[in-house]
């Protein structure tokens, strides 16, 4: 009974002051979207479905940044560092130890754990050293660029860990895909329908889990630190611990993206930690609306889809358009496009309801 009420308390945190969307209408919409996403493979070619998993792979990193930047108020430029570290870790582990007995899943956990460990060390120096604002951005950006430079010079044959060659700028390839051990034969998650469902399921879990997190006591303190760190501390909170926790979770999610991406394409390259790559999560999250998980998720998928279309038709100019999009968003809708549209819609809606009485 006590356990049941505890569970209910947790579930009640799915809605709260820190997340957009509540009530039956929202959750009906949510179920509808999940149902549509689940039904999509029934109507599409398996090859396309597998390709489109690409979009989901990035969303974890975006949601992690949303937590760190949107909720915690700390602009981390280093999501790609954890993405890359986890991707390479997954590659090194699975190339050496293979994919039998569900080892790829252990490698996934270990790779995310390694990224989290790096985040713990870096975060300790950042937050217990009281580094904030633009300096936090500079340090995290430096970390990802240093990692990129380092991996780029590992082309020689001496750069190997066990049987895994790091391969410098050519990137590391031919690691096995994630594999689920199954009685009738292992399920190998090639970019196909099975991988699509696994990734979608993970995304739904992470999204709901983060909703609970940001509406919990922990999340309340995070937004308090974003709004006024001095006041938060003067309420008796050790804000450094909260910031470290947030950084750890957000960075681990970037690591999860890294593993999923590496397993999906059987490939990881140093440029995944480069300048351009590091800027993209900032664009996704800022354009969507960094202060809300749902806005970030929708915005990320939207921007990725646009970017993909642009790359097909505009090749190199796609990045320029991304830059322009970021600048326009910051200037015109600083809250983000999705949140801006949502508030516009609700204003129109309430004006329609109130009719002439509204000023």
């Amino acid at each position: 009974m006590a356990r049941y009420s505890k569970l209910r308390n947790w579930l009640s945190l799915l809605e709260g002051p820190q997340t957009w969307g509540r009530g039956r209408v929202f959750w009906a919409g949510f179920l509808l979207v999940v149902a549509a996403a689940s039904a999509y493979p029934l109507f599409a070619d398996g090859y396309d479905v597998g390709n489109n998993v690409y979009f989901f792979n990035w969303t974890f990193m975006a949601l992690g940044l949303c937590l760190i930047w949107g909720y915690g108020g700390a602009l981390s430029f280093g999501q790609t560092a954890f993405f890359g570290v986890a991707g390479y870790a997954y590659g090194i582990l699975t190339i050496n130890f293979g994919d039998a007995y569900g080892f790829t899943l252990i490698a996934l956990l270990a790779a995310v754990g390694i990224a989290a460990l790096l985040a713990a060390v870096l975060g300790y120096f950042l937050f217990f050293g009281r580094i904030s604002g633009v300096f936090l951005g500079i340090v995290t950006l430096s970390v990802t660029l240093v990692l990129e430079r380092f991996m780029a010079q590992t082309a020689g044959p001496e750069w190997r860990i066990g049987s895994a060659r790091l391969n410098g700028f050519n990137g590391m390839g031919s690691m096995p895909s994630l594999t689920i051990p199954w009685p009738g034969g292992d399920i190998v998650l090639f970019p196909d329908v099975a991988l699509y469902y696994v990734t979608l399921g993970l995304l739904v879990l992470v999204y709901l889990g983060l909703r609970i997190l940001v509406n919990s006591r922990f999340g309340n303190v995070l937004v308090a630190i974003r709004e006024n760190p001095e006041r938060a501390e003067m309420l008796g909170y050790d804000i450094r611990k909260y910031q470290l926790g947030m950084f750890l979770i957000g960075s681990a999610l970037a690591g999860l993206s890294g593993v999923l991406y590496t397993s999906w394409g059987n490939y990881i390259t140093p440029s995944s930690m480069g300048m351009t790559a590091a800027a993209l999560p900032i664009v996704w999250v800022a354009v969507g609306g960094r202060s809300d998980l749902t806005a970030t998720l929708l915005g990320t998928l939207l921007v990725l889809a646009c970017f993909q279309a642009l790359t097909i038709y505009g090749s190199q100019y796609a990045l320029v358009v991304m830059g322009i999009l970021l600048v326009l968003t910051v200037l015109l809708v600083p809250k983000g496009v999705v949140l801006g549209l949502a508030s516009l819609a609700s204003r129109l809606f309430s004006r329609g309801k109130q009719g002439a009485t509204s000023p």
Binding site: N9, P17, R217, N220, V221, V223, A224, R226, E227, N228, E230, R231, A232, E233, M234, L235, G236, Y237, D238, I239
Partner: protein, 240 residues
């Protein structure tokens, strides 16, 4: 036993001697006002007591335990609470959410909402609870921050110019709030410029001048002190 004591406190900022041998003892249950001209070191003394600055030498004691090297949040957890000069609220969050964050530390979810409602009523902010805190009037922001400070159920409340920018009516209402808290046993140390407000609430007054304790006593003794009047009160007393 005093609730808070500073012993031979010194603070240098480079070549500037901002706090010069300040020994101050607060009796439990009193309302003590700290006054002095601009630059006398009042705010610095506050920040030393809170742990936002480290003293150059000297010690700070809370209930006879040394807290000189403790972090700010550790001192808060001991029972010290503060209201800043510029309203230190969470501007982007609702009034209710501001109070929730201040209260959640100490209470179970069931009690939390009741406690928020009670506090809203005390602060006269019940009708504004859904508003974004940044949109409140200046006086309401000050009250909200006082509310967050007292939500911690402190034994010692530090108020840095709590009535700055308030109308006379708001100032008087704030004085009544402070006195109500004091009747419940809260010790108060307030930095204040408004002499009418000091008269309303102060039981003891310390005058700080060039970082030193210049005079100490009841408000009547301080007003009667010609030296104090010459450095500070002359102008203010004429208005009072």
């Amino acid at each position: 036993m005093s609730i808070l004591e500073t012993r031979d406190l010194h603070k240098w900022f480079g070549g500037l001697h901002v706090i010069d041998n300040v020994s101050l003892a607060l009796e439990p249950g009193e309302i003590h006002c700290l006054i002095g001209p601009n630059g006398a070191g009042k705010s610095t003394l506050f920040r030393l007591i809170l742990g936002e600055h480290d003293p150059t030498s000297g010690g700070i004691f809370y209930e006879d335990q040394e807290i000189t090297r403790e972090k700010a949040f550790e001192r808060i957890r001991r029972g010290i609470s503060v209201k800043f000069q510029v309203p230190g609220i969470f501007k982007g969050l609702s009034v209710r959410q501001n109070l929730r964050i201040a209260l959640q530390h100490h209470r179970t979810p069931a009690e939390l909402n009741d406690e928020i409602d009670r506090l809203l009523e005390f602060l006269k902010l019940t009708s504004a609870q859904g508003q974004t805190a940044g949109n409140l009037s200046h006086g309401q922001k000050q009250w909200l921050e006082i509310g967050m400070a007292i939500a911690l159920k402190p034994k010692l409340l530090l108020l840095d110019e709590p009535t700055a920018g308030m109308t006379p009516d708001e100032t008087f209402a704030t004085g009544e709030m402070v006195q109500a808290l004091n009747r419940d046993g809260v010790t108060v140390l307030a930095v204040e410029h408004d002499m009418a407000f000091v008269r309303q609430i102060a039981q003891r007054v310390t005058v700080l001048h060039f970082g030193r304790v210049f005079a100490q006593g009841t408000i009547d003794e301080i007003v009667a002190n010609d030296e104090v009047a010459s450095i500070y009160l002359g102008e203010a007393a004429a208005h009072a």
